[in-house]
């Protein structure tokens, strides 16, 4: 019994620092956030009753959908080839794919600003096609934010897909082709079907990160960045309307939590 009590004390001692950090800096502030958003003037009805703020929410959700689609379309071929490559280059290529994750999102967004401003290469190319006005620039546009944010989040999609595709038994693909399926049909019917959970998990992860992204939408979107995170930033640090900022943050929190729960459930089903 004495041994048991001692073990209990050791466990409590080991857990105490983390428990303290989480109780004071996580549980308390998060509860405070909800209380702050509920106290005082009716903040939630102000958000949900104002077409401007509903537009901001819609913008962020649309950004999430667009970025998820772009990362999925560009990420799947890369992840598939990396997962199936047998050369020694495969390891190096995978490493290069994850390299951008080591660099701050501020730096990666700035790279796009260089390409997007009025005399930047990407904007000049679009001006040359004649489809846009001669003084058009991608900075401050929704398309610009999608292009930049999709690049920032692409490594995360690739890593998630890579892990799942590695787990798909390639003998099943061969079997499908031996039975007469074309490579395209085999890829569609076998690989994509079996990797479905991973595709969905990667999509949810990227969607959640896009909806709440701050640095890239703020830098590329500029003054016209009507996105959730940017609005929270303005309300907190510029307009100092903290109850309202707390309410918008709570809405974002609910979105992220519901996406995370779905994600956790999907991964749970996959491992079962």
């Amino acid at each position: 019994m004495i041994e048991g009590a001692r073990r209990g004390l050791i466990a409590a001692g080991l857990l105490a620092p983390a428990a303290l950090v989480f109780a004071i800096l996580f549980v308390w502030p998060q509860l405070g956030l909800f209380l702050q958003s509920l106290g005082g003037p009716p903040t939630f009805s102000r958000f949900l009753g104002d077409s401007y703020y509903l537009g901001v929410l819609g913008n962020s959700l649309l950004l999430g959908v667009c970025v998820t689609l772009v990362t999925l379309v560009l990420g799947f071929p890369l992840a598939f080839l990396l997962a199936r490559a047998e050369t020694r280059w495969a390891g190096l290529l995978l490493l290069l794919t994850t390299f951008p994750l080591w660099v701050s999102a501020v730096v990666r967004s700035f790279a796009w600003m260089v390409l997007f401003f009025r005399s930047g290469v990407a904007s000049r190319f679009l001006q040359g096609t004649g489809l846009v006005a001669p003084d058009f620039q991608l900075i401050g546009t929704f398309a610009g934010v999608v292009i930049a944010l999709a690049q920032v989040l692409l490594p995360i999609m690739i890593v998630t897909l890579y892990a799942v595709i590695r787990g798909v038994d390639r003998d099943l693909e061969h079997a499908a082709m031996n039975l007469g399926a074309s490579p395209a049909v085999a890829l569609w019917l076998v690989t994509l079907r079996l990797a479905r959970g991973g595709v969905l998990a990667g999509s949810l992860l990227v969607f959640s990160l896009s909806v709440s992204a701050f640095a890239t939408p703020s830098l590329i979107g500029g003054a016209r960045a009507h996105f959730m995170a940017v609005t929270i930033y303005e309300q907190t640090l510029e307009l100092l309307d903290w109850p309202f900022a707390a309410a918008i943050a709570a809405i974002l929190l609910v979105i992220s939590l519901s996406v995370a729960l779905t994600y956790g459930k999907l991964l749970g089903e996959k491992t079962r």
Binding site: A11, A12, L14, L15, P17, A18, V21, F22, I24, F26, V27, W28, P29, G32, L33, Q36, L74, P77, L78, L93, L96, F99, P100, W102, V103, S104, A105, V106, V107, R108, S109, F110, M113, V114, L115, F117, G120, V121, Q151, L154, P155, E173, H174, M177, S182, P183, A184, A186, L187, S208, L209, S212, F214, A215, L219, A229, I232, T236, A249, S256
Partner: protein, 261 residues
């Protein structure tokens, strides 16, 4: 593999190449633009000059910011490693009621937007000024993500370590503490280094909490860069960005060399 030699294989390859250019191209663009001998940001660069690197190194804001970031990330890495590993040992080596729930709670900041954490902490610190603004606030706030990152690496690592090796040491007369430090810890070392590296990189690159909770005097490099990028298209920002890309490359190579040793 047969399907890779088919037309579909070539389509996939073409898209993968495009994806690669899209992924890494912008980083190369910024490095190229930083060498341009023009008073504005130019890509393709015109001429070759190191003047923007001179300007970057002469600008006290960037240098100060760099050292603030370095100090911040080092403290966050060390503290996260100690707190996170201790909690991971408790969660894997001791059975107690509610451990599953506690583990879920400890990992949950990883799925929450950094900005929401930042707002909640801003409101919290203004109501309860338990730490002065600036470095102290930033360090303890970054722990909120650093500790879960360490846990995510160390929990599976600790679960894989065979408890039998610790038992063997104890049967040979080592105390539980001695067995842990002499036998288990060396096995954990690669995991510990990976966890510390993750927490360091996170803290060094993070901008949201830094914007909300930092002070002007203790502004990390990401905050300085964020401000400068917003103001104007200054080639100095490209030079600083290139130096950061180089630093990330060196860190990644070092980590790989250690992992493949």
């Amino acid at each position: 593999m047969t399907s890779l030699r088919s037309p579909l294989g070539w389509v996939l390859r073409g898209m993968a190449v495009l994806g690669f250019i899209y992924l890494l191209g912008p980083l190369l663009v910024i490095v190229a633009a930083s060498f341009s001998d023009t008073g504005y940001l130019a890509f393709p660069p015109q001429g070759f000059s190191l003047r923007w690197y001179h300007a970057a190194l002469a600008d006290a804001r960037y240098l100060t910011g760099f050292f603030v970031s370095l100090r911040l990330a080092a403290m966050v890495a060390v503290l996260s490693l100690i707190i996170g590993t201790a909690a991971a040992v408790a969660l894997t080596r001791f059975a107690f009621p509610g451990s599953v729930l506690l583990e879920a709670l400890f990992l949950s900041p990883l799925v929450l937007p950094a900005l929401v954490l930042a707002v909640a902490l801003t409101l919290f610190f203004s109501a309860n000024p338990i730490a002065p603004p600036g470095m102290t606030r930033l360090v303890i706030s970054h722990l909120l993500v650093g500790v879960p990152m360490v846990l995510r690496v160390m929990l599976p690592v600790l679960r894989r370590v065979d408890p039998a090796i610790e038992e063997a040491a104890r049967n040979l007369g080592a105390s539980p503490t001695k067995a842990f430090f002499l036998v288990t810890l060396p096995v954990l070392r690669p995991g510990l280094i990976a966890a510390a590296a993750l927490a360091f990189i996170f803290s060094f690159d993070e901008v949201e909490m830094a914007l909300f909770l930092g002070s002007v005097r203790d502004a990390p490099l990401t905050v300085v860069l964020y401000g400068a990028a917003q103001m104007q298209m200054d080639p100095t920002v490209a030079a600083v960005s290139s130096l950061l890309i180089l630093l990330a490359l060196l860190l990644m190579v070092a980590q790989q060399m250690y992992a493949n040793r």
